[in-house]
C-alpha cells in the first residue's frame, strides 16, 4: 500500500474498502478514508435489506410474537423469544413461577452453548491461528475442531429437547412453555453436559494462550444485571460508567439512529452520543462475581486480568461463558422436575412492557404495547449488533493508524479480525474479503 497525492492540497489520501466482511452473520462491508496518516472516515456498510419485523408484528396476537421474532435470527432465536415473552409478560403483569424461570435459563444455556462454540472454533479461532477458514484450520487442528463441533452439537441437542427443534424453537409462549420436557429426556444429556463442561474448561486454556494484539480502548461496557445470578433473562441494565436502570428506562438512556451508510440502525448513549459495548466481554467485566464456581475458577486461572478492555480477549470471555453455560445447564438438569403446569394463566388486557435479556452477542431489548384484545399496537426491537456498530467503527478508527504500514491483505484481515471480536450478526455468508485501495 502506498500513499498518493490528490487534489490541489496534494494530501496523501488512502481509501480502504472491505466490500464483504466474512465469517460474520449477514452482508456488510467496511470503508475507511485516511489522510496524512489520520483516519478521517470509517463506515461499516450494512447493505442487507431492512426486514421490517417491528412493522410485521403490528396487529398480530401477542402469543404469535415469540414465534415471529424467533425468525429474526437462526443462531439466536431463543434470545428473541426470551426478550419478547419477558416484555409481553411485563405488559400483561404475568410472573411465571420458578420452574418456568429455570427452564428458560436452561433453554438460554443451550443457545449460548451452540452460538459460542460455533464462534470460538469455526469463526474466530482461524483468525488467531492464521488460517483463512475453519476447513483450512481443521487439517492441522482436527482435535480442536472436533471438540468444537461436539460442544456445539450438545447445545443443539439441548435446544431440540426444550424447544421442539434446534432451530427456531416452537415451545416458548407468553406465560411459560406449550410443552415441557420429561425429566428422563433431559437426563439423557447429562453425560454430554459433564463432558462439555470439562471440554469448555480446556477451551478457556486453549484460547487464553492465543496472542492478542495490544489494543485497549476506553470502553463503556453495558449488560443486563441480576443481583444473584449471571445475567441471561433478567433484569436491570447496567454499565461500567454507572448506569443502573430498569428496562423501561432503556430508550431514555440509549438511542437508536439512522445513518446514511447502513440499513441497520446504530445505537449510542442518548446524553453524550458516545458508543458503548455489549456482549460476552461486557457481561464478564460487569458480572464476574456471579460466574458459577468452575467458570470463575477457569477465568481466574487463565492468565487474563479481568476486567479486560482488550476486545480480542472477547474469545476468552466467550469461552468462560461456555463453561458457565455448561455448568448451569448441568445444575438445572439435575434439579429439574417436570412442572405440573407448563404455563401461567392470566387475563388479557391492554398494556405496555419492555425487557432486556442477554443474547449470545449482548443485550437484546424489546418493547411492546398491546390493546385489550391482545393485539400488538407497537413493537420495538434493539438487537445487540445494532448497539455495537458505532463501537466497531470507533474501534476501527483507533486501530487503523497502527496497521497502515502493512500490506493490503494484511490490513483487510486485521480489520475483519477486529470486527469479528463482536461476533456481529449480519451473517457469515462468504469466506473471502475484497480490499480495494483507491489511489487518487
Amino acid at each position: 500500500m502506498t500513499t498518493s497525492p490528490t487534489g490541489p492540497s496534494a494530501l496523501p489520501l488512502r481509501t480502504v474498502k472491505v466490500e464483504n466482511l466474512s465469517r460474520v452473520e449477514g452482508e456488510g462491508g467496511l470503508y475507511a478514508r485516511i489522510e496524512n496518516g489520520k483516519v478521517r472516515e470509517v463506515k461499516l456498510d450494512i447493505f442487507e435489506p431492512p426486514r421490517f419485523f417491528e412493522a410485521f408484528l403490528r396487529g398480530r396476537h401477542f402469543q404469535e410474537v415469540p414465534d415471529i421474532t424467533a425468525r429474526i435470527c437462526g443462531i439466536c432465536p431463543v434470545a428473541y423469544q426470551m426478550s419478547s415473552v419477558h416484555a409481553l409478560e411485563a405488559a400483561l403483569g404475568v410472573t411465571p413461577g420458578p420452574e418456568i424461570r429455570a427452564l428458560r435459563r436452561l433453554l438460554y444455556c443451550g443457545e449460548w452453548i451452540e452460538s459460542h462454540a460455533l464462534h470460538i472454533y469455526l469463526l474466530q479461532a482461524p483468525d488467531f491461528l492464521g488460517y483463512d477458514s475453519a476447513i483450512a484450520m481443521a487439517a492441522d487442528h482436527a482435535k480442536e475442531v472436533e471438540q468444537g463441533l461436539r460442544l456445539k452439537k450438545i447445545g443443539n441437542d439441548l435446544l431440540e429437547i426444550l424447544g421442539g427443534r434446534a432451530t427456531h424453537p416452537v415451545s416458548v409462549c407468553v406465560g411459560g412453555f406449550y410443552k415441557t420436557p420429561r425429566r428422563a429426556e433431559l437426563l439423557k444429556l447429562r453425560s454430554d453436559l459433564e463432558w462439555g463442561m470439562e471440554a469448555s474448561i480446556a477451551t478457556v486454556k486453549l484460547v487464553s494462550g492465543l496472542k492478542f494484539p495490544d489494543f485497549t480502548p476506553d470502553y463503556e461496557f453495558v449488560s443486563v444485571s441480576h443481583p444473584d445470578e449471571y445475567p441471561m433473562n433478567e433484569r436491570k441494565v447496567v454499565s461500567s460508567t454507572g448506569i443502573d436502570i430498569e428496562p423501561a428506562e432503556f430508550e431514555r438512556v440509549f438511542l437508536e439512529e439512522h445513518v446514511e451508510h447502513s440499513t441497520a440502525l446504530h445505537s449510542k448513549r442518548a446524553d453524550n452520543g458516545k458508543s458503548y459495548f455489549v456482549g460476552p466481554l461486557a457481561r464478564i467485566n460487569l458480572n464476574f462475581e456471579k460466574l458459577l464456581p468452575r467458570a470463575k475458577e477457569a477465568a481466574k486461572t487463565c492468565g487474563i486480568a479481568w476486567p479486560s478492555r482488550n476486545p480480542f480477549q472477547g474469545i476468552v470471555a466467550r469461552a468462560v461463558e461456555l463453561v458457565h453455560a455448561y455448568e448451569e445447564a448441568l445444575a438445572l438438569v439435575d434439579a429439574y422436575q417436570q412442572p405440573a403446569r407448563s404455563r401461567a394463566e392470566f387475563r388479557v388486557h391492554a398494556g405496555e412492557g419492555s425487557a432486556a435479556t442477554e443474547a449470545p452477542r449482548g443485550v437484546l431489548y424489546h418493547r411492546y404495547r398491546i390493546n385489550d384484545q391482545g393485539l400488538v399496537e407497537f413493537a420495538k426491537i434493539v438487537p445487540p449488533t445494532a448497539q455495537n456498530y458505532r463501537r466497531m467503527e470507533d474501534d476501527l478508527r483507533l486501530y487503523l493508524p497502527g496497521i497502515l504500514d502493512r500490506s493490503e491483505p494484511e490490513i483487510a484481515r486485521a480489520c475483519e479480525n477486529l470486527v469479528r471480536n463482536y461476533d456481529p450478526c449480519i451473517s457469515c455468508s462468504t469466506h473471502f474479503l475484497k480490499l480495494k485501495l483507491d489511489r487518487e
Binding site: 483450512a136 481443521a138 482435535k143 475442531v145 472436533e146 462468504t430
Partner: protein, 193 residues
C-alpha cells in the same frame, strides 16, 4: 498396511458397517416447492413404516456435518432446478458433475453447503458415507407460495415407492448404479426396479 485411525475414528469409532440408510430432507418450509425434501421426510415419518433414519433439516449449515457421521449411506432430498419439467425426479450419486444441486453450493445462511461439509470431513479425516441426491424439479420457490401440483404429484410417487427406492440404494453397488437417473413427471416406475 491399513490407514491409521483418524481423530474422529479414535474418539467415535469407525462408521458401522451396514448401518441403516439415513434420509435427510432439506429446504425452506415457507418457499413453495423448496419445501419438498422436508415434506417427503415428514410424510414418511407420519406413515411410520420405514426403518430408515429420517431427518428434516430446514436450516442445514454446519449441522450437515453431523448428519453425515456414523452412517454407511445418506440420501439427501432437495429441490433442484435444471430446466426439466416440474415434478421430474433426479436420482444422482454424489458428488456428480451432471447436475449441480443446491446443496452443493453455498447458499445456506452460513455459506455452508455440502461442498464445505465434505471438505471439512476430509480435513478431519472422517469416513465418508455413500451419498446420493434425490432432486425434485421445482415450479415455484416464491416465499409463502403453496407447493405446485406437479411437485405434490412427485411427492406422492416418492412416498409410495419409497421401499423400492431403499432397495435400489441398498443394492446400488451390486446393480452398478453410477450415474444420474431421470424420471419424467408421473413415471410410477421410479426408481426403476
Amino acid at each position: 498396511m491399513s490407514k491409521p485411525a483418524s481423530q474422529y475414528e479414535r474418539e467415535h469409532g469407525a462408521a458401522k458397517a451396514g448401518a441403516c440408510l439415513r434420509v435427510v430432507g432439506l429446504g425452506n418450509p415457507y418457499a413453495g416447492d423448496d419445501s419438498v425434501g422436508l415434506e417427503i421426510v415428514n410424510r414418511l415419518r407420519a406413515r411410520g413404516d420405514t426403518e430408515c433414519e429420517l431427518v428434516a433439516l430446514a436450516r442445514a449449515g454446519v449441522a450437515l456435518v453431523e448428519v453425515l457421521r456414523d452412517v454407511e449411506a445418506v440420501l439427501l432430498i432437495d429441490a433442484v432446478s435444471s430446466g426439466s419439467p416440474a415434478g421430474t425426479l433426479h436420482l444422482i450419486p454424489l458428488p456428480s458433475a451432471e447436475v449441480e444441486p443446491r446443496v452443493l453450493v453455498s447458499l445456506s445462511s452460513h455459506g455452508w453447503g455440502l461442498a464445505e461439509t465434505l471438505e471439512l470431513m476430509e480435513a478431519l479425516g472422517r469416513p465418508f458415507p455413500r451419498l446420493a441426491l434425490l432432486g425434485v424439479e421445482v415450479e415455484t420457490v416464491e416465499p409463502g407460495a403453496p407447493r405446485s401440483k406437479e411437485v405434490e404429484a412427485a411427492i406422492d410417487i416418492v412416498v409410495s415407492r419409497f421401499s423400492a427406492l431403499w432397495e435400489y440404494l441398498a443394492g446400488a453397488e451390486k446393480n452398478g448404479w453410477s450415474g444420474p437417473l431421470r424420471f419424467v413427471p408421473g413415471d410410477t416406475t421410479f426408481p426403476g426396479l
